[in-house]
Symmetry: C2
Subunit: 407 residues, 2 copies
């Protein structure tokens, strides 16, 4: 992947300090090491799942589903996948009923993913599905070692896999949480990790991404009160769920009380898809308040060569300039045109990420790039990037409501 910044930010001292902090963080934060893991045990587990299984269903929410979904939806159109993948995330009864209508129990393996083993959404859904499919071999549980969920799973004779140490949900896509469902669908998880590893090495060992990531992170951090909204404008439908993953990663990591001040800070993530959102959100970027940065993401090679045919429509001859143009070329021209129109504004920070193609290596790089960027910005704006204390209050209120006799 290539990343070009149209802004610059030189502050060597701050950048050096941030880099050192991230280097040190590798000792305590688990996600940094994930690209280097040995996947042999995971692949062995995957081999144990029968070929008669044609559907994998993840029961999990947030960090337990968004990463695998991002990768799966990016690669799905390639048609090389061996199994279908569904995600039970919502307690919306309409959604549960609808998803179940797509599933044949005899051909489905369920992955129940919960760190703590107490996630309300996951276990409401699990209980419901368990009442319809009570065969314990239809389930694999992914949880923390020695959690009550592990004890339960062992007692009913289901398989248990462990979450790695010190990897939070939103940084867990390259761990068991993301790799297992993806590998079960025929995705080359080693290539995914290799892509991540390239970015990791480029950053930590003075590659081209070190300078870029440090510049971008210090710019975002320095200007976090002015440019407090960070848009991704991705020119491919296949990146829609990558954007949802980004929204969780960025929002939940960077929306915090500062560690050493009394202030609430936060950078707001927005995921946009081109060209559709040219007809939606673009006006706001172009003429609205100058509070947004924009990162364009484009794909160089779509592996698809459909072309606009050489047809003249009478009275609409103006459209002939489109003739004989491959759609992949058109969509990238649309991206460039919008990018140039925003760059001409001079007060909107823009950068571009160019992905070489639609494959495992590429999406692995992109995920790891955003994880590193998030860690850097979190360090620079003085927050704890890895916790989420703000979601507890709602959980406590829900627990009280559930305990009340009168529901």
């Amino acid at each position: 992947m290539i990343n070009r910044l149209s802004f610059t930010f030189e502050d060597e001292k701050t950048q050096k300090k941030a880099f050192k902090a991230i280097e040190k963080e590798q000792q305590s934060i688990g996600y940094y090491a994930l690209p280097d893991q040995d996947i042999t045990p995971l692949l062995k587990y995957c081999d144990s799942i029968s070929d008669t299984i044609d559907t994998i269903a993840v029961i999990g929410i947030g960090g337990s589903s968004l990463g695998a979904k991002a990768v799966y939806e990016f690669l799905k159109p390639l048609n090389g996948l061996t199994r279908k993948l569904y995600f039970f995330e919502s307690t919306d009864p309409i959604n549960i009923t609808n998803l179940l209508s797509h599933i044949e129990f005899s051909k489905t393996h369920f992955l129940v993913i919960s760190k703590s083993g107490t996630t309300v959404e996951t276990f409401s859904i699990y209980k419901y599905i368990y009442s319809l499919q009570s065969d314990p071999t239809a389930y694999t549980f992914i949880t923390d070692p020695d959690s009550p969920l592990e004890t339960y799973a062992k007692e009913i004779n289901s398989t248990v896999l462990h979450l790695p140490h010190n990897v939070g949900g939103r940084f867990s896509v390259l761990s068991t949480v993301g790799l297992v469902p993806l590998a079960l669908c025929g995705i080359e998880i080693q290539a995914l990790l290799n892509g991540a590893k390239e970015v990791k090495e480029s950053f930590f060992y003075d590659g081209y991404l070190k300078d870029t990531l440090l510049k971008k992170a210090t710019f975002y951090a320095k200007n976090h009160t002015q440019y407090n909204i960070n848009c991704i404008f991705a020119y491919s439908e296949t990146l829609k769920y990558f954007c949802e993953w980004y929204v969780q990663l960025w929002g939940e990591s960077l929306g915090k009380h500062q560690r050493h001040s009394a202030f609430h800070v936060g950078l707001t993530p927005i995921g946009l898809i081109g060209p559709e959102d040219q007809h939606s959100f673009l006006q706001l970027i172009m003429e609205g308040t100058r509070d947004k940065s924009v990162t364009f993401i484009k794909i160089e090679d779509f592996h698809d060569n459909i072309t606009i045919p050489d047809i003249t429509l009478p009275h609409l001859e103006g459209l002939d300039t489109l003739n004989n143009l491959p759609f992949s070329k058109l969509i990238n021209m649309q991206c460039d045109s919008v990018l140039e129109s925003l760059e001409a504004q001079d007060d909107i920070p823009i950068d571009t990420i160019i992905l070489p193609s639609v494959d495992e290596n590429t999406i692995g790089s992109l995920l790891y790039y955003y994880e590193l960027l998030t860690s850097l910005v979190g360090e620079l704006i003085d927050v704890n990037t890895y916790n989420q204390p703000g979601v507890e209050a709602g959980k406590i209120i829900l627990k009280k409501k559930l305990n009340q006799k009168e529901r």
Copy 2:
């Protein structure tokens, strides 16, 4: 629908002035009158489409697709729909190929929707599909009267329907643009309009929504520099595309140069879905910068009574409080819990919209409510709510690129 505000804002003079301006706008802005239209001609047109057609495909982007998509996706789980509806919006070749794989040409009718008849996305896709299906009776064109597209369509003997006068794309869901695809799928469009009409009358004739809408709009406008991000937190998967429609409506209408100042202004829309986004964006709302308002939307009756079964999981007995709870009740308890946790913060403006059920009337009300709110806020922050000059620059650059020999 019910709308409860947890904030208040009394400024009778400003509210009166805004109301008068909106009352007057009815003379020049077409969408206000849409709930009162006679749909007989539209229904007659729909009857002319053969029963052998089981799929409707809209070729259109932005305002030509988002409204129908919002309504269709809201009502789809009800299972009463008579035809499938697809949307060709993107120039992404992977997306086009994928959508076409779901379509059988002999059973599909295409609706080509373009006001001007020059939309690049729409006509690239149309040309491509036309090269595969050249039967003119497979297409209906929806465009402005006397546009070059109308001339073209008549020349090839396709049906033409007109867009109403003075209705912009993002306000067009209750016009031909939205009503035709929806009616063709068996959706009761009169009930949709009736829902809108209830909101319209409540607002213009001193009903309960007049006071609420004016309070909310003046609060948003007055505080638009502090609370410049307006989140919808909708507790149902079925409202996901309503959120996308809202993002276009709000962002493209309210992100502008002010009419009587030198300033860029803008309110940034965010669409969230609960409970999933409790595990994503909630942390940022709860502990991040105080720049966000939140509107919770919940559905009282999901027409679905699946219930969490009375199962105790050994070692996970703490989850027994979930037993025997209908999912519809759980999801609303989750909504109330998050709402209460945010209200306790005191500096986050919150309101709640309660929708009685999943039906045409309900979604019609909700759409019109948001159109009125947008018009009011636009008037109050001194922008032209109905244009989108900021998207032109990119179009001009693209045109230049397309005209260059070397592409």
